[in-house]
Symmetry: C2
Subunit: 336 residues, 2 copies
């Protein structure tokens, strides 16, 4: 009930007021069992009365743990990534971790820079989402000496832990649907092929399934662009002149663009042109016709990544470096 509001109340204020040592207060704050119930009660009472809140910065300095993890994300506004982020955040708060969210714009320079400020802030771990894991980044990760996991991304060199689906197989399975309807000229539309997930994995799935069905691979059916809706929207003329009868698209926004571009130009979907996409974000149900899509557990990829990270931060042994989550395919109006 004292009203000298000025001085912030610290652990020592509480200690004095309760007539115990700081160590004891620290113990009750941290739920250490070695405290006599009566003492605990007394301390708790004072904490409550003084409205004491431990200073997390000081705790972090003393204990060398900040209960904070860094999350590097190419773009918060992208549904794919924000869905992952959602899963990450939920699990993080479940385990009492906070998240420092850092936008990288998918820009290599920024990724490096942001990584460094996260390290300076002494985060206990990092979740990285990105299109392309460069050697430099991999090197910096190694120097970091804290656990890092990739969410919804893959490390070609398999050096850093990651959570994702099997992109090669997922694409094979999705495109085989298209082939089964008799499509011979199927376009492959994606962001930069320099991003391994496109140029390496998805493209491989595409080629595999073509080969398996005796269709020759035609490079003129591969359309490399960026991840923007608009880029898909303007693609129709090119698609049409390549005589594509269907398209597999590697990103939902991009796919929505392709779909709308085609429809706006008068193409009948799915009769004259089919399109399927990759991420099954809520966008797929908002467009008309709705987009058939590879399904992948976006929220879970985020959640599992974070769970994985907590285990690593806890130094629990784990046998696997990579977690493959299940994928599927859902047929909607945009394909036959």
């Amino acid at each position: 009930m004292d009203s000298r509001e000025e001085k912030a109340v610290t652990i020592s204020t509480v200690a004095k007021e309760a007539g115990v040592s700081m160590a004891t207060v620290s113990r009750v704050v941290n739920g250490n069992p070695n405290v006599k119930p009566a003492t605990r009660k007394k301390v708790l009472e004072v904490i409550d009365r003084l409205d004491y809140r431990p200073n997390a910065v000081a705790q972090g300095l003393a204990s060398k743990k900040t209960t904070t993890v860094g999350v590097i994300i190419p773009a918060v506004t992208n549904v794919y990534f924000s869905s992952l982020a959602r899963g990450i955040d939920d699990v993080a708060s479940m385990y009492k971790y906070n998240i420092i969210l850092a936008n990288s714009d998918g820009n290599h320079q920024k990724e490096i820079q942001v990584l460094n400020t996260l390290l300076a802030k002494q985060v206990d771990g990092i979740i990285f989402m990105g299109h392309n894991l460069t050697d430099e980044l991999r090197a910096q990760f190694k120097r970091a000496k804290i656990p890092i996991v990739l969410a919804g991304s893959v490390d070609q060199k398999d050096e850093v832990e990651s959570v994702h689906i099997n992109y090669v197989e997922a694409v094979e399975s999705a495109i085989s649907n298209l082939i089964n309807h008799g499509n011979k000229r199927i376009a492959f539309v994606s962001g930069p092929l320099s991003d391994p997930i496109n140029g390496e994995y998805r493209l491989k799935g595409y080629k595999n399934v073509l080969a398996k069905n005796g269709i020759e691979y035609d490079p003129s059916l591969v359309f490399e662009t960026d991840y923007r809706y608009r880029s898909g929207e303007v693609l129709w003329p090119a698609l049409a002149s390549a005589r594509a009868t269907a398209a597999f698209v590697a990103d939902d926004e991009l796919a929505a663009g392709v779909l709308n571009g085609a429809r706006d130009a008068g193409a009948k979907i799915p009769d004259e042109f089919e399109v399927i996409t990759s991420n099954n974000s809520k966008l797929t149900e908002i467009v008309r016709p709705q987009l058939s899509s590879i399904t992948q557990p976006l929220y879970d990829i985020g959640a599992v990544s974070m769970r994985f990270l907590t285990k690593m931060m806890n130094k629990e042994e784990s046998t696997q470096k990579t977690i493959d989550l299940p994928y599927g395919f859902i047929k909607r109006g945009s394909s036959k």
Copy 2:
């Protein structure tokens, strides 16, 4: 070039190695001008050689500034909020602040809890996005003793600083378009009316403009729901039976739902039914027909909020408590 990799390099390592005191190292790290150029150079060289990175936690404890701000957001996956977040993040990193992102689910309990952990982490300021600023929250804000600004939200009691548009006028102007086409029965579709932005501001705009045009207010045209796409989609039967010829919708996802629900049921848009929405997020251009919308500078609202916050954290005096950004209206295919 010493290779005793074990011990982390701290300011004192650098000091010894460079033959100066910690204080001096601290000065060069912080760009304090009171350092002889020769000394600065020498220290910088050592810093570089030892690859020293200041520990932000220790800095935070000593300086009582963490260069971190908390951002409370109802849902990262919602385009409206993630657009604001984008603006916030950009300006934050421009001013060297990091962001601790905390999801609140728009849940009051969580908002309070999250606020407390942010305070424990000693953030220098907070940006709050939320649907409803309760008295309890307002009280906690006051206790916090750090600057807080509301982004894209309003404080009915005008006690906490905020950045937004004039929702009443924006709605008036948008709906007057509908009235000009002869619509007499215009539905008002929004999330919970208990959220002031709906029940207070937007609804007031709706009533105002009706009154101004001599149309009687009919409560049966007010549809209160939540912010989900699906909720809009299933609304059509109710809309139809209320004989609404147009709808003003308070959220883009919701509006996309209303639009698709109507179309899927065979309504001709905009001939038989018009719909306009409120946030002009990219969703509005992805649906067909595209959604006419109130325009508001989402990114800017976030950016300006953050800028505002930096000024407050700097204790720069500011005359205004509230910043009104300009709004507009863009006509697209969903209205005549």
